[in-house]
Symmetry: C2
């Protein structure tokens, strides 16, 4: 049986891409952990069921969506058969055999899937060319909005915007801007969350040349909601660093309105300062214009550690 | 300027894929070394110019075809801008930023390009949807025949055969089988070559978890032509092993008619015997049915060394 699986700590793109792609590939959508409040809001809005959680790849054919890094995928991936990867991140895996790999530098994995739909070339990746129903169009639209932070992220491309407009029509969304703000508000509803939850909501592990780095991110409209919990978050990060043997742990509090991120840094702070050319104050620094982990935070780290 | 570049020690797939893809992407086809006699035959037959040789990626936008491994690509790749990869081998690169990556498990990179042409979706990878002219169809056809050893290699898929039939019509080739044998004969014309040339004709470097491995291959209709030079080839391999610090060097003499390969092994022979479950005699062993380096020789090595 074919499973379409997003990354650990699933976000809206990871869950929605898995659901829609599984539909066209006649497979089963799956997730590797609990969904976040934003994704819950989106699934409820379009009346689509949560994918099942899987713990093992054993005996399964697997297509990964929205990630390729081993550190972000199912633990025993090698027990299953990796068929393909559909992703919009950097290439982060090496395989022992040829597989299907479709990667484009677009704002979301959902954009890649939407493009395959609109071009009517799902058969190009082994799927079926069938109609995109309103509910699934709504999921793809939500994922694009979520991943591009309503087109504010520097990862946004012209194509993302064109695809979103088309998806709006199919999903019967009359006002893209208004709907986008709804999603962002759901994304940002962290006021009542415990600091542990805030840290883990969109957290990813990386391994750069055997250096273990962790990067969490929360995107908020009202930064104050998170800032008052900063000390607690730093404490959690420091505990995590020690217990799990990280070299560096970053947490990005991304201000959607100001279009920048406050970065909380624990671990090898000197290296962080060197890589980004900044000075930390009380373990934090505000990076103007930085909204994308993928495009603005990961590349300098990867380049530094690969030397 | 955009350059479309195949791997070091270019084979027919690498050269023809670069030429045809560059045409559709309005870029420049390039190569990283001298072409082999088979490719020379093919280019002459269809009246197409040899691509220029480039030595550096500096200041260039680069699309790699038919490879992804750093050990097989242009030395200073990081000096240029890697835009994308179109390939049919295992995933062998990690990048610091998202790129275009189109990989399918087909018999040749030319098959991937032919499929994009016939589906009229060159725009999907940023190219122009234009007509495939007979000369370029001939190049793609030749590359498919060469890489699949006229559909005898286990890498061959049904799609490769369907694409080849379509390409035949456009290229005005009346008899696919006959034309295929012409190509294989050109591929096999190693009788007059020096042993050094035979070793380097289709030679690839790999790095598995920091283990340096080299694998050369020659595909012949008449094995005797190469077998009489076996001792010389073993001597060259042993010299190369010592001088360039390999852990293991393999050379495959693939018998197109018998559909199997005699493997010459120097370096860590014990590991080789363990991985493939065979016993060497005079540093060689015949592997029944083994014709594909990519699909049959590399995966067990990669799996062994990645542990």
């Amino acid at each position: 049986m074919l499973y379409v699986v997003g990354h650990k700590n699933p976000d809206t793109d990871s869950i929605c891409s898995a659901i829609v792609l599984a539909h066209f590939l006649n497979g089963v959508p799956a997730k590797l952990g609990n969904i976040n409040p934003e994704t819950e809001y989106v699934l409820k809005k379009f009346g689509v069921m949560e994918p099942e959680t899987i713990k093992s790849a054993k005996g399964k054919e697997i297509i990964l969506v929205d990630h390729s890094e081993k550190s972000q995928t199912i633990d025993d991936l090698e027990e299953g058969k990796l068929i393909g990867i559909i992703d919009h991140h950097k290439i982060g895996i090496s395989t022992s055999e040829p597989i299907l790999y479709i990667s484009k530098s677009l704002g979301s994995t959902a954009s890649i899937i939407a493009e395959l739909c609109f071009k009517n070339i799902m058969d190009y990746i082994g799927g079926e060319n069938k109609e995109l129903k309103p509910d699934l169009a709504g999921l793809l639209l939500s994922a694009i909005i979520s991943d591009t932070i309503l087109f504010k992220s520097p990862t946004t491309t012209e194509l993302d915007k064109i695809l979103a407009e088309k998806l709006c029509k199919i999903a019967n969304i009359n006002n893209l801007e208004e709907f986008g703000m709804e999603i962002l508000k759901a994304k940002s509803s962290v006021g009542n969350m415990a600091p542990e939850e805030i840290v883990s909501i969109d957290y990813k592990d990386f391994e750069f040349n055997s250096h273990k780095i962790g990067i969490g991110q929360v995107e908020v409209i009202d930064v104050k909601e998170v800032e008052k919990k900063k000390d607690d978050i730093l404490k959690i990060l420091n505990e995590k660093l020690e217990k799990e043997g990280y070299e560096l742990l970053l947490f990005l509090i991304t201000d959607i309105m100001k279009e920048g991120s406050e970065v909380l840094v624990v671990g090898d702070k000197e290296t962080f300062e060197k890589i980004y050319g900044v000075k930390l104050e009380n373990d934090t620094v505000f990076l103007e214009g930085v909204m994308s982990r993928k495009k603005q935070v990961v590349p300098p780290l990867e380049q530094y550690y690969s030397k």
